[in-house]
Subunit: 366 residues, 2 copies
DNA sequence: TTGTAGGCGTTATCAT
DNA sequence: ATGATAACGCCTACAA
């Protein structure tokens, strides 16, 4: 009557011991009559085993925490779906610790994890402060990091190579006939901000071009819009004819800013994003973007985690997902755009059978 | 050495009893010397109280579950951020149960909640099956539902009125000079699908217009694109000049489909979405949309929950958030578009000072 | 096959 | 102010 029924009451009702109840419920051997009585009592009382008791005894909660800096960024939702995919069937629940943009939050969260809320942690941090790394290593549960980490850190890691991703984008823009390529970066004190900046600089050096770098103050759409207004203030002579944005949200912001200023994409400005989020192909014009396999990285992270839980002693691994350029409308080659200057409003399918098709979903791997 | 330190080891190290350790850690009175010794031992051993033990004793986990059908839909991310906002400071963690699109998942999740994983549940279900409602009511923890529920269900509810939202959108399209208004709906067996359909039918009746209804098979971008191809197959004479989509994702799909078919938005086709997700203002053209206050609903849900936890006995409440039309470019009035037919590519700011501005962020409440 | 009993880590009562 | 001890709900040797 008072509160939920416990195993004791079930045992009493069934006229057996609590051990028998537990056994029946966990599929251990028991006489069929005992099983009957226990099951009857269970449905009778509406008994549901309490997770906490079990967790305390077994020492595991069957919860996996997933921590990111910004759930508002679709790339993390996709990553999370990947994690869910990879976890499905393992009987675990997902504990999502999003935390706003406060950088101390992630650290606080990691610390709170050492209270045993979760059996494991998958984390994709924007910044890798020494404190964070130390906290992760000290955690009493398995940790998988999605992102770049120092080489010698004893953790399982899922990486991609966003530096190479930027280089892919740069080469593609060169091939599509652009020469004044600018880079809109997010905060350079983040791991992706740093890697992508390096990629851009390397690409520029290789091409013998001086690429302009614009700093946005976040990886958000709004930051991208603000960054665009910086571009607009550049004298027309030096104004870029192409932009690589450090992620899709920035790219969306740039495209919106450009549209508001009356600039035509891709005719006057080519744009390439990074992450290939679900909205990249939906925008008009659709956004060319470098996929970093967010969903796959999530799935792999889950797999690494399950492997480690199964065999805690195995050596730490680093898995890699290669970046993949997905060419869409926003970076259509100039040669394809030239023939029909008078009809800009038509769908921008290039009439010229050039290397890169601007059709929605073609992709090119490198 | 073996595993994490427990309160027993701390007590031994400090030379006091476990009761004293517990007291010090929970801020009960203790002699200052005792406090010193305990704190020293704690830092010394790196002791962190184990959540499971505490939960078992206290009977509460400090976890709140948030369940939705599709985390891929940004409206739910926003709702979740609202929940987080509202929960912050309460010391609770958020357990996000997303579950793919399998409708049985939500039910399974709700059942699993009765295992005591969480102290409370906030749920925003697409479909309200009798089984689900029954399971929710039977749950031994407080439940707040975001969405429509039967009137007499003994639960706290946060509602909006998406039926009225559709009517807002319809009226706005009439004012912007459209007459052949179609409605792209999601599955009609969902609560929003049903309410929005009713709203459309009511609006059509009031206007004396026969509105065409197109069924999409989901609330997704892809479903919206497919729905658009149905529209394209309509004979030119009866083809709509405006579309209300049952949510933003469908609207994005429609706009993408329309763009691929060479239709111009808003000149040839006006589009209005529902939810006013973060990408509505970013798209080109930016999407007019009816905001249902997802973030605010999340915040309110959290508040209702905290109130109920504080005082379990209080009567159940239903809070309402009014829909709010946000007018943007995708539904610019025809009169504003007419004057300059030769320059369609310029930003679509209307030259005519009409009722509804098409500037990005203006909103009109009703 | 079944029951008894101990323990997982914590908090809280009740003596001292 | 402090310590011994009993729960909390469950699982699992071990003994019968």
């Amino acid at each position: 009557m008072s509160g939920r029924p416990t195993i004791v009451e079930v045992a009493a009702q069934a006229g057996v011991s609590i051990a028998s109840v537990s056994r029946v419920l966990n599929g251990k051997s028991a006489r069929s009559e005992t099983q009957q009585r226990v099951r009857a009592a269970v449905t009778d009382l509406g008994y549901v085993p309490h997770a906490t008791g079990r967790a305390l005894k077994l020492g595991s909660t069957l919860q996996v925490a997933f921590a990111v800096d910004d759930v508002g960024n679709p790339v993390y939702t996709e990553m999370m779906q990947g994690v869910e995919d990879g976890l499905s069937g393992s009987g675990g629940r997902l504990l999502v610790a999003s935390t706003g943009h406060d950088p101390t939050d992630l650290l606080a969260l990691v610390h709170s994890l050492s209270r045993g809320y979760a059996d494991a942690l998958i984390i994709s941090p924007l910044r890798r402060s020494p404190e964070l790394v130390a906290a992760l290593v000290a955690l009493p549960v398995p940790v998988v990091v999605i992102g770049q980490l120092g080489d010698e850190v004893p953790l399982d890691v899922v990486r991609t190579d966003s530096r190479a991703g930027v280089i892919l984008a740069h080469r593609h823009l060169l091939e599509s006939g652009r020469r004044r390529i600018a880079f809109v970066n997010g905060p350079p004190d983040t791991a992706p901000g740093q890697a992508r900046l390096e990629g851009f600089q390397e690409a520029c050096a290789a091409a013998g071009l001086a690429g302009r770098i614009i700093q946005a103050d976040g990886f958000t759409v709004t930051a991208g819009e603000a960054a665009w207004s910086q571009v607009e203030s550049i004298s027309p002579r030096g104004r870029p004819d192409a932009v690589i944005a450090a992620n899709d949200l920035l790219a969306f912001g740039v495209m919106r800013g450009a549209a508001s200023a009356g600039r035509r994409v891709p005719r006057q400005l080519a744009v390439v994003g990074i992450d290939d989020t679900q909205f990249a192909r939906v925008f008009s014009p659709s956004l060319s973007s470098v996929s970093l396999g967010a969903r796959e990285r999530g799935r792999i992270a889950a797999r690494l985690l399950l492997d480690r839980i199964a065999a805690p002693g195995i050596p730490f691994r680093t898995e890699r997902v290669a970046p993949r350029l997905v060419v869409r409308e926003s970076s259509a080659p100039l040669v394809a755009l030239a023939p029909r200057p008078g009809v800009p409003s038509r769908p921008r399918t290039p009439r010229h059978p050039s290397i890169a098709s601007s059709t929605s979903n073609r992709s090119r791997t490198s």
